[in-house]
Symmetry: C2
Subunit: 372 residues, 2 copies
């Protein structure tokens, strides 16, 4: 499966035009495009351009209501509950994190929980919004059920990422990870590549290990059982119950506190119901924020400089790879999977955009297999 | 290695007498004993009676200052920073969580970070203190370095447990887990049993997999390299970088916000320097707390009732096993490893206690191998 490199500017222009054609305002399209492109900037292919098809199909099918505005249904100086009214997840998430940041600046902490939203892109985008303001940021989201709990065979939790970010130089701390071994997006990429997935990632509908991305994704889509296992694996020996527990923390901050839909109830009967959680913490409420930041930087540098395992040239701190990926994108552009390009062209045609202006005379070399 | 069952009452009386003999007041001994016995109540042998020897040796060597009082060095309505002045970890932790709870009741959230403390027992004890008051509780602690970061061969993080608890019936949510695959305490138990540890838990000083608890514990004690791997394993394929990331969140709330010692600097030169983090969140600041609790209970029950993997009779939610363990302890008493009994007898002799009154004519059947 071939990749084609496009300039960031071209893809940004494409997203801006497409989302405005879908009916979003220019500032709204700006936020949505920023969230998607940050994922590709960071080398997280699964949540960048390759996810456009989901938003396209979501808007087309009515899962995503373009005109919906997030409503604050409960609020205190440190907290808020937002009903997303099935709007675009990125816009709801952005508003929620802005509220959490404002509260953290004023009273030290802001926690905002959201119900009835849609997929909001990478969780880390929102955590980073807080980090950009000198705060510790946290964000999480549930999703269509994909994680099979320890000893189960039916997916009952989402990929349920927890994302944290905190100020540090030269590499801000940025840790954004699903509480499953891998995300659904990773399986989607293996499926597009038509490559077998590694053992220990997924189980089929009987609960047995599977290397077939197409089978696992098909079962998830059809609610036929199976899914991805929690980080730590499918038993307790190597800590699968821990990944399952981290997934539960995600539900607590998203679907439980907001009294929204837990993962197993989302994305059914034409209704999304995805829930998110956000927190911003102000280091200035614990001492001199500059001194705290310096203290963190010393530790991060000690980690990077600590002795390497045989054959390993480097120890990373979380966020370092993302900063390096940005440099690569700036130099080389963003690599887009050929199947993703086909999906983007389909979307551009649907919206009546000038396909040639973006993709020239693109010709695919393989069959697209889409699950949307 | 044989186990002997003792009544909870007898062990409680033993702890109460011992800690008062060490110089703690009766209310202080009450807190310390409660923390230790909750671990045995919950079937978490590693942090119950088997840890007494560490406190004994810690007090004897001057790591733990019996008379030290925790000092609040920074405070706002939502936050506090405590300097433990090398006091007993359980007493510092208890005070810190009480402050977090009080703040959460008043303003919705309380976050307290602690530096210069000592081992504080199971992290879950403090999370549960908040849960008992109808709040969401969080606690974490760093420890002597034991976790080797992904691609490293030197332990740079502690076992770094994150513990969460939240109200629910019939089983409160209680999730307390090290961010390593297993805790050091688990290795100590394998060492006492003289059994090989499972592959995928630990690495030797060269960074290679080891099944020898004695070797790994010895290297950790001597700071010779190696240690336990993060949950997710020693590579990125199954998510080892995620366990490493969760361990970093623990450092953030404990050693970073408090500007205390990060794990790799603790427990050296006769100084402990252990740091903790605490958070309490009041559900009443997000809606009707009873409705939120009910909503959580429905989800927990759905998880327990969801389809089981072939050959698995049961899916647990976090906290269920602990509630069942309590019932077992009430019926059968607490099983104590023979080597642990020998350590307790040694401690009782050191304190001039009436050993026979507790242990009768106990005779061991094997050699103790202690790392303290």
């Amino acid at each position: 499966m071939a990749y084609i490199n496009y300039s960031r500017e071209l893809l940004d222009k494409f997203c801006m035009e497409a989302f405005q054609k879908f009916g979003f305002t220019e500032p709204e399209a700006r936020i949505i495009s920023d969230v998607l492109l940050m994922s590709d900037d960071f080398g997280i292919e699964s949540h960048g351009m390759q996810r456009l098809v989901r938003y396209h199909k979501g808007i087309e099918s009515g899962l995503i209501h373009v005109d919906a505005k997030p409503e604050v249904v409960f609020e205190t100086p440190i907290s808020a509950v937002i009903d997303g009214h099935s709007g675009m997840g990125q816009l709801i998430g952005h508003k929620a994190m802005e509220m959490a940041i404002e509260k953290a600046k004023t009273v030290g902490v802001g926690i905002v929980t959201v119900r009835n939203s849609n997929h909001y892109g990478i969780a880390g985008y929102y955590a980073r919004m807080a980090m950009d303001q000198g705060l510790i940021g946290f964000s999480c989201t549930n999703s269509e059920a994909i994680m099979v709990p320890t000893f189960g065979k039916k997916a009952m939790l989402g990929s349920n990422p927890l994302a944290w970010s905190a100020p540090a130089d030269p590499y801000p701390f940025f840790f954004d990870a699903s509480t499953t071994v891998v995300t659904r997006g990773k399986l989607e990429i293996y499926n597009k590549k038509q490559a077998p997935v590694p053992t220990g990632w997924a189980v089929n509908k009987l609960g047995a290990s599977s290397n077939d991305a197409s089978e696992v994704l098909g079962n998830i889509k059809a609610h036929e059982g199976g899914g991805i296992v929690p980080v730590g694996g499918d038993t307790e020996l190597l800590g699968g119950h821990k990944g399952y527990g981290y997934g539960m923390i995600c539900e607590l901050f998203s679907s439980i506190l907001s009294q929204g839909m837990t993962s197993a109830h989302t994305m059914q009967n034409g209704f999304s119901g995805i829930c998110h959680g956000f927190m911003a913490i102000n280091p200035a409420f614990f001492g001199d924020p500059e001194a705290i930041k310096k203290h963190f930087e010393v530790y991060l540098e000690e980690l990077r400089q600590s002795p390497k395992a045989d054959g390993q040239p480097r120890i990373y701190t979380h966020g370092e790879k993302e900063m390096e990926a940005i440099k690569k994108v700036q130099a080389e552009g963003i690599p887009v999977n050929e199947n993703t390009v086909k999906e983007m062209i389909e979307m551009a045609n649907y919206l009546g955009m000038d396909v040639k202006a973006y993709f020239g005379d693109f010709k695919s070399t393989s069959e697209v297999k889409s699950f949307y």
